[in-house]
């Protein structure tokens, strides 16, 4: 018995030693990626599916964006598909594929969760709700194999931005139908081996929670311009792990640095650190039906006593203290109304009937498992210090947290929103009555009237002006307390060139190239 275990120990020793020697001589993954022209990207998680009609996430958009490509024309009324473009199996991409994709997504049986992205099309919503059953009444019409006519519900000046979203991409009709009926929800067409795309890359391999590998698509219409041989997506959810892996040379670009490492990275690895704006806002929902919180003055007081700069300096490093709700995008510039003014806050609170915080109800901040402890702790402290009020915290698992908000079973809730396209509507439309993302119990007729007016306005600058007024009203009423604008803080290896800051973070991988670059430590 002793003898055999000794032998075992010896073998283990030899095995470990040889492993060590092997491990030391290997080139890093990044070096290998540079050699093989494969970009290794941290993607923050695994896509739920690659069928663009079944998903809603940002993670999915990165992968789907390499496999598919949308409309090419910029004309609001009639869009053309690229003549001569091919699917990766050699079949031509036609306008029929686009029409099929929209039909499939809008079909009630498909139950596509992100279907609202297509509601810009005339009669699309009615068809999706089953109020009309004839798809020819929907504003999608195939004129010829390469021309598609789309009739819109109302003028949508930002349509080109919307159609870049994956919900507007075509699907290969012949492949989808090969694996099932049109509006069948779960079919195998988007599985590795079956999926066919028109993007710069094709799906090579998908190992769940491990990696997704896409390889260059030789049939892509612009294949000669694509420099990369492939992209490898790593679904790393633990951002400490991701940062560590990057510094050990295992990936070219990360998804996100944990806030508490941002300062260290900017000090020690400025050559890697990228900090870019991103269209997203972190805010707090108020339940405007709760006594106390139903007063705009109370909500204003809570906002004025909220030191956003301090929060972004201590627990949300890398985020930007916000001055309004909608982040900066294009020409849209809402008034910078959010500020820190504890004296005014105390005055408003007194006017609302709680002088010096006396008699103020004890509310609880609702947070899901995605929220961070220190953020709420900092908020608790701010209100205690500046308004002399105490708030509790109610923690929940993610599903209960979402449900509690939808049922208005909360006082205040930490939340966030990320824009789908570059237009203020993606941030402002949700605060209308009955919108599934409102969840504050607040609505305002004049606010909705303004949004209506803006929708009919064809002059872009006047349109934005109306939105600015609507947002001013929103900030005056303050059903939500915005506290930080999202930013992308990530590490990027200098050998991946052609990677530019983008507000929606939808980097075109077809334009990235890998050139081995020495990095000075």
């Amino acid at each position: 018995m002793i003898g055999s275990s000794m032998i075992l120990v010896r073998y283990m020793g030899i095995a470990i030693l040889s492993l060590l020697i092997l491990a030391c001589q290997k080139e890093t993954q990044v070096e290998r990626g540079n050699r093989e022209k494969i970009l290794i990207v941290g993607n923050g998680g695994d896509p739920k599916s690659l069928d663009q009609h079944l998903v809603t996430g940002v993670i999915e958009s990165k992968v789907i964006g390499t496999l598919f490509e949308g409309l090419v024309g910029d004309d609001a009324q009639s869009d053309t598909a690229m003549p001569g473009a091919l699917w990766s199996d050699g079949a031509p991409v036609t306008a029929e594929d686009f029409a099929f994709a929209y039909h499939r997504m809008l079909h009630p049986d498909m139950a596509a969760p992100y279907v609202e992205m297509l509601y810009f099309i005339k009669n699309a919503e009615a068809y999706n709700r089953g109020e009309i059953t004839d798809f020819s009444q929907v504003g999608v019409k195939v004129i010829d194999p390469f021309t598609l006519q789309i009739t819109l519900r109302e003028p949508v000046p930002y349509l080109p931005g919307v159609t870049r979203h994956y919900t507007w991409f075509p699907v290969p009709k012949h492949v989808v139908l090969r694996h099932g009926k049109m509006a069948q929800r779960f079919t195998a067409w988007s599985e590795p081996g079956n999926i066919v795309g028109n993007g710069a890359f094709v799906l090579e391999r998908w190992k769940w929670n491990d990696h997704i590998l896409v390889k260059k698509n030789p049939r892509y219409w612009n294949a000669s311009e694509v420099q990369l041989e492939g992209v490898k997506f790593l679904p790393i959810e633990n951002f400490y792990t991701e940062t560590r892996a990057f510094l050990a040379g295992q990936l070219h670009t990360t998804y996100q640095i944990p806030p508490d490492l941002v300062e260290k990275m900017s000090r020690e690895y400025p050559q890697y650190l990228r900090q870019e704006p991103y269209v997203g806002t972190r805010f707090m929902r108020f339940n405007c039906t709760r006594p106390g919180l139903d007063q705009a003055k109370v909500r204003q007081a809570l906002s004025l006593a909220f030191d956003r700069d301090e929060l972004c300096a201590t627990v949300m490093q890398g985020f930007e203290a916000c001055t309004s709700y909608t982040p900066k995008m294009g020409d849209y510039s809402p008034a910078q109304v959010l500020r820190f003014d504890p004296a005014k806050a105390r005055q408003l609170l007194a006017e609302a009937g709680y002088p010096g915080g006396k008699g103020f109800p004890r509310y609880a901040i609702l947070m899901g498992s995605g929220g961070t402890r220190s953020t709420v702790e900092a908020i608790q402290e701010m209100w205690k210090k500046h308004l002399n009020i105490l708030v509790d915290v109610r923690m929940m698992d993610q599903a209960s947290y979402i449900e509690a908000q939808q049922k208005l079973d909360f006082d205040m809730a930490l939340a966030g929103w990320i824009g789908d396209y570059l237009d203020p509507t993606t941030f402002l439309m949700m605060w209308t009555k009955g919108n599934g993302n409102n969840n504050t119990g607040w609505f305002s007729k004049s606010y909705e009237a303004m949004l209506q007016k803006a929708a009919q306005q064809t002059d872009p600058s006047k349109r934005l002006e109306i939105f600015e007024k609507a947002e001013a009203l929103l900030m005056e009423q303050m059903p939500i307390l915005p506290f930080a604008w999202q930013a992308r803080n990530y590490l990027h290896h200098p050998s991946a060139k052609g990677w530019h800051p983008l507000l929606l973070d939808n980097h075109p991988f077809s334009q990235v190239r890998l050139e081995p670059t020495k990095v000075e430590p």
């Binding site: 947070m367 900092a378 608790q380 402290e381 105490l390 929940m396 209960s400």
Partner: protein, 325 residues
């Protein structure tokens, strides 16, 4: 007559055990270390030497240990020294409570199963198998849901009972801050304890089965002693070793589970802290503020090591067989 003899023997056994325990230097050291930590955690929060564990100060954020802040401060400028001791209070209370419940249930259940006839034993152990297989987190989330309603009511009652009718909002808030963490945590962890006795019961059952065939059990049986007396006075004392050892093994698991719960959105509410939460947060700050990981881990490890050495000492001391030495 019989009982009085037993009683007498019991007394002398206990005295012997304490004598033996005293001679075991590691156990004594463990005992004193444990007592010191427990004493500090219980008493220090009532003294003025400990800063408010939740008081934040921007000027003092991320300070390394110094004479002013012995264990340094965190990213919100809170004093880690007081957070460690306030946190220890909660961690120790939670761990003791949960483990106590788990051990009580597990030992009785396992002992009965091990002693009973084969059919009863098999049924009892298959029940254990079913409970093992249940998705523990689902059960805990559901428990949290049910208990959330109840405990918020309980703490309201308690606050009302503890304050007079004319109490100011400040006074009520103060009482609530003190009462709430306990009222919300205790039932949850009692329930968790009532769910984590499974491994103990398996270990005790195996041990009982191996002891019950020994000669002295036969002797007791032929004396006509009742099953209860045989099982709890004669067999169980012979199983005390693994019981004590596994008990000391359960405690760290519970302390850490509390942290896991907090990060799933259950358990201890901010701004309160516990060792589990402090260690979890410290592990994220490992590269930037290493002291935030070091000090909570130090106290956590010291407590566990002392517990285990004390447990070993107790095991040796109360081992009925070792009295023959």
């Amino acid at each position: 007559m019989k009982t009085s003899i037993e009683l007498q023997q019991g007394n002398s056994l206990r005295k012997d055990a304490i004598m033996r325990l005293r001679k075991n230097r590691a156990a004594v050291a463990g005992f004193f270390c444990l007592m010191t930590i427990a004493f500090l955690c219980i008493v220090l929060p009532f003294t003025p030497w400990l800063a408010d564990p939740n008081a934040q100060s921007l000027v003092h954020k991320n300070l390394a240990p110094s004479t002013q802040h012995w264990f340094g401060t965190d990213h919100l400028g809170r004093d880690l020294f007081s957070r460690v001791f306030y946190g220890g209070r909660i961690s120790i209370a939670v761990a003791m409570l949960t483990t106590f419940v788990a051990v009580c249930i597990g030992v009785s259940y396992g002992a009965i199963a091990g002693y009973a006839r084969e059919r009863v034993d098999a049924t009892m152990m298959r029940v254990v198998d079913v409970l093992y297989g249940l998705p523990f987190l689902v059960v805990v989330i559901l428990l949290g849901k049910v208990l959330e309603r109840m405990t918020s009511q309980w703490s309201e009652w308690l606050v009302e009972a503890l304050t007079s009718d004319h109490a100011t909002t400040e006074k009520i808030n103060e009482v609530r801050t003190a009462v709430e963490p306990l009222v919300t945590m205790v039932p949850l962890f009692l329930a968790i304890g009532a769910l984590s006795w499974l491994t103990i019961s398996r270990i005790v059952r195996a041990q009982v089965q191996s002891v019950k065939k020994l000669e002295f059990v036969e002797a007791a049986r032929s004396l006509g002693l009742s099953h209860r007396v045989i099982l709890f006075r004669h067999i169980l004392p012979n199983c005390v070793g693994p019981i004590i050892v596994y008990t000391t093994l359960t405690i760290p698991g519970v302390m850490l589970f509390e942290a896991v719960l907090s990060f799933l959105g259950l358990g201890l509410k901010p701004p309160n802290s516990s060792w589990g939460v402090l260690i979890k947060e410290g592990s994220d700050m490992m590269l930037t503020n290493a002291w935030l990981l070091f000090f909570p881990s130090l106290f956590f490890s010291l407590t566990l090591l002392s517990l285990n050495f004390l447990g070993d000492g107790l095991r040796d001391a109360f081992d009925p067989k070792s009295s023959k030495d």
